[in-house]
């Protein structure tokens, strides 16, 4: 009895390009692009890159369609496009951080963080951002103290209690508020200040920033509260727990991680706002610890003013970059803290 080896081709397995083929195609298209570039004497390297990219996509499609079939070729094209989108998003981000770090570290040291401009002229070397850090912390802190409770309570009303026209109206106005440009929020507070004939002070900036952060917090908290399963609310109510205690002890603890993250993201957003601060807080080279009286400094405003008043002086540019780096680090640390809290407070699943 002889064994018959069935050599029929499998219908489940098609021809595949080898693993190294994308790299080979990429190298080939790059070589052709360089050739075309030098032959046609194209000055811009960006043009070379574009030619190489186009060649890569076209030749990938053609080769894959020949060897693997049209469906696989489309799959490869889709993969290419996703990669392109990824690179388009990452390149500016990385280059922004790179440039900020590169230029920012020049004058960023303990002296810079603990001293203010004072009488140092904008064109001179020296000075620092202590006043700006104090101002930013106080203004953003006060704005959060106002905005976070109102935002969270509004979201609780909308999700747990809101029925009918009032809640629809609130939702609508929150949506409208999300779209308010920051300068408009600043002008609104400025008009109030002018009515009572007031001079710029830190808390006025906080009020404008609170207006900007409230809708963001309402939206994110709303989404988080909606994620809490209704079964948990019913379980608590069925134990004879009043609704307000159910919200306080069951709904909020379950969603506290997400709510904190939302608040931190809102804080990060307003920490970089310049326009309302420019109008309402005015900027101050001297240290002013009192947010309720007198002009204050603030990090984004400091960056703007150093650039605007530099008169071409390198020292002012360096300070602006160092302040930018500080601001980015500040927001980054806030985000890390928020993630830490979210992970720490998240519902536990371990055994």
């Amino acid at each position: 009895m002889s064994t018959v080896i069935d050599k029929r081709p499998s219908t489940l397995r098609g021809a595949r390009l080898p693993k190294w083929s994308p790299y080979a195609i990429a190298a080939g298209s790059a070589a052709v692009a360089i050739g075309v570039g030098t032959a046609a004497d194209l000055a811009s390297r960006v043009q070379w890159g574009l030619i190489a990219g186009l060649l890569f996509i076209i030749s990938t499609y053609v080769i894959a369609a020949r060897v693997e079939g049209r469906r696989q070729a489309k799959d490869r094209i889709a993969t290419c496009l996703v990669w392109v989108a990824f690179l388009l998003a990452v390149v500016p981000l990385v280059s922004l951080i790179w440039v900020t770090v590169e230029r920012g570290v020049k004058v960023l040291d303990v002296y810079f963080l603990t001293h203010s401009m004072g009488v140092v002229a904008d064109t001179e070397v020296g000075g620092g951002i202590y006043a700006a850090i104090i101002g930013s912390l106080e203004q953003v802190g006060l704005a959060t103290l106002i905005g976070a409770p109102i935002g969270v309570l509004t979201a609780i009303y909308l999700v747990e209690y809101g029925r009918g026209n009032l809640s629809r109206a609130i939702t609508f106005f929150v949506d409208v508020m999300t779209g308010i440009p920051s300068i408009v929020a600043g002008l609104f507070i400025l008009s109030l200040m002018l009515m009572w004939d007031m001079q710029p002070f830190g808390f006025a900036g906080s009020l404008a920033l609170a207006i900007l952060m409230m809708p963001v917090i309402v939206r994110s908290t709303e989404e988080m509260l909606k994620l809490v399963p209704n079964e948990l609310r019913e379980a608590s109510l069925a134990l004879g727990v009043p609704k307000w205690r159910t919200i306080l002890k069951v709904v909020l603890p379950t969603s506290i991680g997400g709510i904190t993250t939302g608040i931190m993201l809102a804080v990060a957003r307003i920490a970089g706002e310049t326009a309302p601060v420019l109008l309402l807080v005015f900027g101050n080279p001297f240290i002013n610890n009192n947010p309720f009286e007198g002009a204050q400094a603030s990090l984004p405003l400091y960056i703007y003013q150093q650039y605007a008043n530099s008169a071409g002086s390198g020292a002012a540019y360096d300070r602006a970059w160092a302040a930018s780096l500080t601001l980015i680090a500040f927001v980054m640390i806030l985000n890390l803290v928020a993630r830490g809290i979210a992970r720490w407070k998240a519902p536990k699943t371990g055994r």
């Binding site: 029925r163 399963p229 079964e231 948990l232 609310r233 019913e234 379980a235 608590s236 109510l237 069925a238 134990l239 004879g240 727990v241 009043p242 205690r245 159910t246 002890k249 069951v250 603890p253 379950t254 519902p347 536990k348 699943t349 371990g350 055994r351």
Partner: protein, 258 residues
């Protein structure tokens, strides 16, 4: 502690939709009453009207009377929160609080109601977990999260949580439908023990289960989809499953429809 429930002429709505119509029955104390019937016939809705959980659903409202030992649950001035402390509930899907440990889950009812003594808490938790036949399995890990338990254990944890507040009546909405046969058996044994202390009402899709655990069985049905559900008959379980007085009941339990 167990109390009698007398329902008369009860109709429940979701908005304008009438879910159940004109239901009257008596639930005896210290017994298990099972509700059976096809899906959508209003068993669960009726169950939820017994501790005023129906009105938690937006648009839910009720007409008629539910007497708990001669006190109308829907009478004027009755606080639904107090009603729910007297009439506890176990849900279809186990729903322990995910942020709380096993201990805190059982203690939740007392803690969240705010009237307890610290020294009592330990005893109440132990007693409730023993009552739910869960103590031996979890006594070494009371501080672990409740969501780490198996489905059957979670459901018994929810029963322990419900009986920790010492209700008079325990409502169970298909408590075993998400569980395997072994866990189901554990819960059914538990129901047999709990009926010594509580009045128990259980909704089930499993007719064998109704036959095994209940003393009395009520059959619900609806004329057509979109029509309100009605109580067809309620009688001793033995009689319902051997010689029901209504033809529809016999058709349903013998598998001729539904």
């Amino acid at each position: 502690m167990a109390k009698r429930i007398d329902v008369s002429g009860l109709t429940a709505y979701y908005g304008t939709h009438k879910a159940i119509e004109d239901i009257s029955m008596t639930v005896e104390p210290r017994s298990v009453t099972a509700f059976i019937g096809p899906s959508g016939c209003g068993k669960s809705t009726f169950l939820r009207t017994l501790n005023r959980m129906h009105e938690v659903t937006p648009g839910g409202r009720v007409e008629g009377k539910v007497l708990l030992d001669d006190e109308d649950l829907y009478g004027a001035g009755i606080d639904p929160v107090s009603v729910r402390r007297e009439v506890g509930m176990v849900f279809q899907r186990p729903n322990p609080f995910p942020t709380m440990s096993i201990f805190d889950n059982v203690a939740a009812g007392l803690r969240l109601n705010g009237n307890y003594k610290k020294s009592e808490l330990q005893d109440v938790v132990e007693k409730s977990l023993k009552g739910a036949n869960l103590w031996n399995e979890v006594k070494d890990r009371l501080n672990k999260p409740g969501s780490g338990l198996s489905g059957g254990q979670q459901q018994r944890l929810c029963i322990a949580r419900a009986i920790a507040v010492e209700p008079n009546v325990l409502l169970m909405d298909e408590p075993c439908s998400a569980l395997d046969p072994i866990s189901t058996l554990a819960i059914e044994d538990l129901i047999g023990e709990l009926k010594e202390r509580f009045t128990i009402v259980i909704v089930t899709h499993n007719m064998q289960q109704a036959a095994r655990v209940s003393d009395r069985t009520a059959f619900f049905n609806l004329a057509a989809v979109g029509q309100p559900g009605k109580l067809i008959e309620i009688d001793d379980t033995e009689r319902i499953f051997s010689n029901p007085s209504v033809q529809a009941t016999e058709d349903y339990i013998s598998g001729r429809f539904g």
